[in-house]
């Protein structure tokens, strides 16, 4: 005999299935469509042939394989890694956004709130302005410094905000704001001594673009962070739900809030830093996607986390596809597309669901 709450819970969980199935289908459709879009003119059947040829068993079904070699390179070495990077970055930022909003119990929180953004931009500005060189001994210094900058800044903010064994959320947020301003000042100063070429390059980095991610190294260098982040956040999804009741309440219910906060902060920051290091600062995704998903699936983190990841991935892939084709052979910065497309849609959702939705 199941208790009433358990039955309610099961009913809830069974409601989640359709969401996951629909979103998975949407994800696959967006992935395939993104692969089909680009400046090079490659037919859909050629793309299918190229992909099928790489899958055992199915490859026998491919009839005559008469695909141009450069088209094969474009699909497998250029477009596919870029689309996947878009998916991973989108999923990472959205998941991190859910975690930050959950920990801070603040709708304004996003992956950049406690210094991940300013740290990364400081790292990249140092590389670009001081001319360390984008590639040094086979290592992409821009990525490494952006990652390290992001991570160390958040750790710095965390250790400053730490009072005794506790890390008050408000103090963490305010320290993050202060450090962000401090680092932005350094970046601004670096911009004033840079040449117009470097300034332009930095501007592009600060807007965010997936053009530099057209290689498999980037995919493999950030994918592990997403996997680890998603697994850890899912393990602590219940704790995040309880945290929503308030820290004192959560403590009474047996949640080791400081430990939970620390672990979740670290995994969210790792995901953010990894994403930022390869794509630059793509704003909006980490802030809006969690809200957007919450409007549809509700506030339970056990469903909110996976759905946000899929929605974030699909959203960024779509935005990047638009960025790639909207200007002919050139391309628009994806950060601009995400904000232009997502902003009005989100406002529309908010207005429509205004009465029933509580931030």
């Amino acid at each position: 005999m199941k208790t009433e709450s358990e039955v309610a819970h099961l009913r809830h969980v069974s409601h989640w299935k359709p969401y996951l199935v629909i979103l998975a289908v949407v994800f696959v459709i967006v992935l395939v469509l993104s692969l089909n879009l680009g400046s090079a003119d490659i037919s859909f059947s050629d793309i299918l042939k190229i992909l099928a040829k790489r899958v055992p068993i199915i490859d026998n079904l491919v009839g005559s394989y008469d695909v141009l070699q450069r088209h094969e390179i474009i699909i497998l070495q250029v477009r596919l890694p870029r689309v996947l990077c878009g998916a991973i970055v989108g999923a990472s930022l959205a998941t991190a956004g859910v975690i930050y909003q959950g920990i801070f119990r603040n709708p304004m929180a996003d992956p950049y709130v406690i210094g991940a953004m300013s740290g990364a931009s400081l790292g990249s500005a140092l590389v670009l302005v001081l001319g360390v060189g984008v590639s040094f001994l086979g290592v992409n210094t821009l990525q490494v410094l952006a990652f390290v900058g992001s991570l160390t800044t958040v750790l710095l903010v965390y250790s400053i905000a730490k009072t005794g064994s506790r890390v008050p959320v408000t103090l963490l947020l305010l320290t993050g704001v202060a450090v962000t301003y401090f680092q932005s000042a350094i970046v601004t100063y670096l911009q004033t001594i840079a040449s117009d070429k470097v300034i332009h390059g930095l501007t592009f980095w600060l807007i965010g673009s997936l053009a530099p991610t057209e290689n498999w190294t980037d995919v493999w260098s950030i994918f592990p962070f997403l996997v680890i982040g998603v697994i850890i956040s899912f393990l602590y999804a219940r704790d995040l739900n309880i945290l929503a009741l308030g820290e004192d309440q959560a403590q009474h219910l047996g949640v080791e809030i400081e430990k939970v906060k620390r672990i979740l902060l670290i995994s969210a920051t790792l995901m953010t830093a990894a994403a930022v290091s390869i794509s630059g600062l793509i704003g909006f995704v980490g802030l809006i996607i969690p809200h957007l998903t919450r409007v549809v699936v509700g506030p339970d983190h056990r469903i909110l986390l996976p759905t946000s990841a899929i929605v974030g991935a699909s959203f960024l892939m779509t935005s990047d596809a638009v960025a790639r084709v909207i200007m002919g052979s050139g391309e628009a910065p994806v950060g601009v597309i995400t904000a232009l497309a997502g902003g009005p849609f989100f406002i529309y959702l908010l207005r429509r669901r205004k009465k029933g939705y509580n931030l």
Partner: protein, 354 residues
């Protein structure tokens, strides 16, 4: 009687024998003659054959020389080492200055891809529309997809496309980063591109021409009695000028002027209005456009009306000029044009009015 007949027969026999012998000898001589001439003919034939063989060997050697492109190793401006095993036939240029260099050394016919910003020496946007050349789009952070689609055997990248250069290199494409800040660096770049495209003679001629032209102007300018102070604004707002280590600074010096910010600590210093007023330049130069926009920020009149600038010597004497932004900002073959224009602005008494 019988005896007589016998004698007659004997004589006849002897005579006929003699005739036969003579005939035989003569015939044999003819045969030998024939044989000798046959030998001669054959000898001639052999000689001809030998000559043919010789020519064929020579042709083969020359063909091999033509086919056997000297494998060359190049080092670009970022220190990347590139080895070319054959002369490039499909080049993609990712910057306007590289495009200008390629066309100036006669390698324009193997350029298959350019950027939207390339506009010299031809109206490339019309070429792109006509389908004669392909634009890969952005100068900043271009996607490598349109580049790979052109199947190039050499890509000339710039500081605006370092990530694309890295990604292309990892896919096995030959990529040279061509971007120089100084005059010498630009001339080196021209030679580098010349070596890469198998046009080293043309590149060498172009570089020595440029050197000679610049030397002529510099020598004439050296005779001038004054060295006017020059302010060159690269960007605004905030006003940014060119400092030491830039070809703009070098061009001003060669043209017989003094760059008022040649003591700056960075190559592209952001300068205050106050500093410009304090340094009181005799000549001020502004780019006529930015990113293809004429008067992007302000006109020369607006510049003259900037607060407090009315005391500046250049404005009082109406010595403020516009300069073609492409010519002064691109490290390419038109640097001599830039020097020519700057020299006229700095020393009109020597070089004539700009």
């Amino acid at each position: 009687m019988d005896k007589t007949i016998t004698y007659v027969i004997a004589i006849l026999a002897i005579v006929s024998l003699a005739i036969a012998t003579y005939g035989l000898v003569t015939f044999q001589g003819q045969v030998t003659d024939l044989e000798t001439s046959m030998d001669d003919i054959q000898g001639t034939l052999t000689t001809i054959q030998d000559q043919i063989d010789e020519y064929q060997t020579k042709i083969a050697e020359q063909q091999q020389q033509i086919e056997e492109y000297q494998e060359i190793t190049l080092v670009d401006d970022m220190g990347n080492v590139v080895t070319l095993t054959s002369a490039p036939e499909r080049i993609v240029s990712l910057s306007p200055s590289s495009t200008e260099i390629l066309f100036a050394i006669g390698a324009g016919d193997i350029v298959v891809g350019i950027t939207d910003y390339c506009n010299y020496p031809y109206n490339f946007s019309a070429w792109v529309e006509a389908g004669n050349i392909t634009s890969i789009g952005n100068y900043w952070q271009p996607s490598i997809e349109p580049i790979v689609d052109l199947d190039p055997d050499l890509v000339l990248a710039s500081t605006g496309s370092l990530e694309a250069a890295e990604n292309l290199r990892n896919l096995g494409y030959n990529v040279l980063v061509v971007e120089a800040e100084t005059i010498d660096g630009v001339l080196q770049d021209i030679l580098l591109v010349g070596r890469a495209t198998d046009k080293h003679i043309e590149a060498g001629v172009l570089v020595s021409q440029m050197r000679a032209e610049m030397d002529v102007i510099a020598n004439q300018a050296a005779d001038a009695t004054s060295t006017p102070k020059v302010y060159h604004e690269v960007w605004n707002p905030p006003p940014m000028s060119a400092g030491p280590g830039t070809f703009i600074d070098e061009l001003i010096t060669l043209g017989g002027g003094t760059n008022i910010f040649n003591d700056a600590t960075t190559s592209w210093p952001t300068v205050s209005s106050e500093a410009v007023i304090e340094k009181n330049p005799d000549i001020m130069v502004f780019p006529d456009m930015y990113m293809g926009r004429q008067n992007f920020y302000e006109t020369l009149e607006d510049v003259a009306n900037r607060d407090g600038w009315e005391t500046i010597s250049a404005i009082q004497n109406n010595k403020i000029y516009e300069i073609n932004a492409d010519i002064i900002s691109r490290g390419g073959p038109r640097l001599t044009d830039a020097l020519d224009i700057l020299a006229k602005m700095i020393h009109p008494e020597i070089f004539g009015q700009p």
